[in-house]
């Protein structure tokens, strides 16, 4: 069953045509890698699929609903309720501890402080990062940062996890560990995962690859 779909979407930044009519369909529970050379529009595609941006033409559908025509508030709600995001450099709030960073989405969701902290710690434990729960992001290694970021993305039990180069700043062993934990947790959750990467070994963790070239899906490799 198709959960997330883009139909001939186009997006331009000034005179740069980042996306030129991309169509992709991602099934429920699937793990999909979006690959392609630098500047081909992978991140832009991810942002459009996740409702962070809206394409100029074309349609984006999630769970049978068209989302690119929703207003900002509705898309924000959708992102909060159904999506989780991980980016290349963790992007944790530098003043909060790792555990508080993970608890943040729960707090924003209106949960209590203690309850959120307990759940956050449980997720850190699953991500093998309980030992750094009380450290600030500045004190963490790249791999630890990413594991905390993954915990933050998964803590709300999202339907879809979007990851943009989640292992881009890591060496291969640390990267594999982060990826393994992410995919394992996503499988247990039943989450769909969309990973943007230009690392073939990361792409090999996915069920399927979508190759983006010059703003278009060149070959959808099944």
């Amino acid at each position: 069953m198709t959960l997330l779909e883009a139909r001939r979407i186009e997006k331009a930044f000034g005179r740069t045509r980042a996306l030129r009519g991309v169509s992709v369909a991602i099934g429920s529970g699937e793990i999909v890698a979006i690959t392609g050379p630098s500047g081909s529009g992978k991140s832009t595609l991810l942002h459009c699929l996740s409702g962070i941006m809206c394409p100029e033409t074309g349609e984006v559908h999630y769970d049978g609903r068209r989302i690119d025509t929703l207003d900002e508030a509705a898309r924000t709600r959708l992102r909060r309720e159904a999506f989780g995001v991980v980016f290349q450099f963790g992007r944790l709030v530098p003043e909060l501890t790792a555990a508080e960073n993970v608890a943040l989405p729960l707090l924003f969701g209106g949960n209590g402080r203690e309850e959120s902290a307990t759940v956050a710690r449980a997720w850190l434990e699953r991500m093998d990062a309980l030992d750094v729960a009380d450290a600030r992001p500045g004190e963490l290694s790249g791999g630890q940062l990413q594991r905390v970021a993954v915990a933050r993305a998964l803590v709300t039990g999202p339907k879809v996890v979007f990851a943009d180069e989640p292992t881009g700043a890591l060496d291969s062993v640390a990267g594999e560990r982060v990826l393994g934990l992410l995919l394992e947790a996503a499988r247990v959750n039943g989450s769909t995962v969309v990973i943007v990467t230009h690392d073939n070994r990361v792409a090999a963790h996915a069920d399927r690859e979508i190759v983006v070239r010059d703003g278009a899906a060149a070959g959808v490799v099944v």
């Binding site: 709600r77 508080e100 707090l107 924003f108 943009d164």
Partner: protein
């Protein structure tokens, strides 16, 4: 190429934001010049003038007015310093290329100071011209005084202008201190310890003679002790503002039930000093404002009317306090801009994860509230102390208390409004484009 040529070349470059900041520096310098000119002007007046001029009319109160004008430099200086910091952070980003080419951090800082000096010089000249025109028109058109009566004497006037430029240059040099720049242009604030706790003793010490007065203890050298106490309290309040901000941030961080409060409190705790600087000025204004309540009440208690002289005096004092608060709070706007610039990618990530813009705006506002409530309340309390028990009719005591509450609220309001004013930057700071940059 000489150093000055480089400076000139770089002066022409720069983004829109930097030019805006250069204008802020110029505005601050202009304001400072106006205040100093006002002080000089008041001091050169002679003879008794129209009562409607309030404290300016009276020979005996003129030095006090000049002193008040001098005090107004404080918020302006804090504003200039904060703006200078932000400008230097921006500039260092731009000059990172220069660092790569081998310029030392000292040279870059000197270039920064030169740019600040130029803006300040421009502002000073504009301020001087504006003041002279304003004074001339008030004197000639409104008061119908002989135009020969007095004006800003040239020598102190020039000295004041030189002083403003010098202060701006020094603050420009100091401003770059806490910013660490690598040749690659990565900027982060050097980690710093929380503000010391022992400064809290100073205002406590200052309050002792005043509390003694309230309780009715007999003191030797009473007026002197009270003056010393008031002075110590005021200075102590300014010194301990950072610590008070830090303490309330810490408490708020521990107790926070919502994500917004947690984020706001932790950001404050991590970077207390800019808030502390602003709060020391705001606090001083609140304390003075709260103190004037007693004078007003005492006055009403004794005479039951207000003649034009006192009315003008009180109005002028309130006006000066308001201006001081506004200028001090304006420094927060530039500080918030710095916070947004630094946290842009992190906030953009939170937004990508489904945090609404309104929630992010609340983070900014709560920073203002958390930072302002404790220092302003303490300041209002301190302001209430020195003149207590000076009344015959106890009901008049209601006014100073009300006034103190109002002043504290005004201080908090000023800080909150300043954070609101920087919210328009939020949209740009958290745009999806910021997800791409490191």
């Amino acid at each position: 190429m000489t150093f000055f040529q480089v400076a000139g070349m770089l002066g022409r470059g720069g983004s829109r934001a930097e030019r805006a900041r250069a204008r802020l520096v110029a505005a601050g310098a202009a304001l400072a010049t106006c205040f100093l000119f006002g002080a000089a002007n008041v001091l050169t007046l002679n003879g008794q003038l129209d009562d409607r001029l309030g404290p300016i009319a009276n020979r005996g109160t003129r030095p006090g007015v000049a002193f008040a004008f001098g005090l107004m430099i404080l918020p302006v200086a804090a504003f200039l310093y904060q703006t200078g910091r932000l400008a230097s952070a921006d500039r260092e980003r731009r000059l990172a290329a220069l660092r790569l080419a081998g310029a030392t951090p000292g040279e870059v800082r000197l270039l920064g100071a030169l740019e600040t000096t130029r803006s300040a010089a421009l502002g000073t000249v504009c301020g001087a011209i504006a003041y002279v025109l304003l004074e001339w028109s008030i004197r000639g058109l409104l008061l119908h005084l002989p135009t020969t009566a007095a004006g800003v004497p040239p020598v102190p006037g020039l000295a004041a202008m030189a002083l403003v430029i010098a202060v701006a240059t020094v603050s420009g040099l100091l401003a770059g201190r806490h910013v660490v720049t690598s040749p690659l242009g990565v900027i982060r604030r050097a980690t710093r310890r929380p503000p010391g706790r022992y400064v809290l003793l100073v205002p406590v010490l200052g309050c002792i003679p005043m509390v003694a007065l309230v309780v009715g203890v007999q003191m030797p050298y009473r007026p002197f002790a009270i003056l010393l106490g008031a002075g110590l309290s005021a200075v102590g309040l300014m010194l301990s503002a950072s610590r008070l901000v830090w303490a309330s941030a810490r408490i708020a961080g521990r107790r926070a039930r919502s994500a917004e409060t947690l984020l706001a409190a932790r950001a404050l705790e991590a970077d207390t000093r800019p808030w502390g600087r602003t709060m020391s000025i705001l606090g001083l204004a609140v304390a003075i404002g709260s103190g004037t309540g007693w004078i007003q009440a005492g006055f009403m208690d004794a005479r039951h009317t207000l003649d034009p002289f006192w009315l003008t005096s009180f109005t002028l004092v309130d006006l000066a306090l308001l201006v001081g608060m506004a200028v001090a709070a304006a420094a927060l706007i530039t500080h918030q801009a710095e916070y947004l610039m630094e946290h842009g990618p992190v906030l953009a990530t939170l937004r990508a994860a489904g945090v609404a813009d309104g929630e992010l705006r609340r983070v900014l506002t709560r920073q203002g509230i958390i930072a302002a409530v404790l220092p302003c309340s303490v300041a209002a309390l301190i302001g209430l102390l020195p003149l207590a028990r000076a009344l015959h009719n106890e009901t008049w005591a209601l006014w100073p208390v009300t006034n103190a509450v109002l002043m504290a609220a005004l201080g908090v309001l000023a800080a909150t409004l300043a954070t609101k004013a920087s919210q328009h930057r939020l949209q740009r700071a958290v745009s999806p484009g910021r997800l791409r940059t490191e």
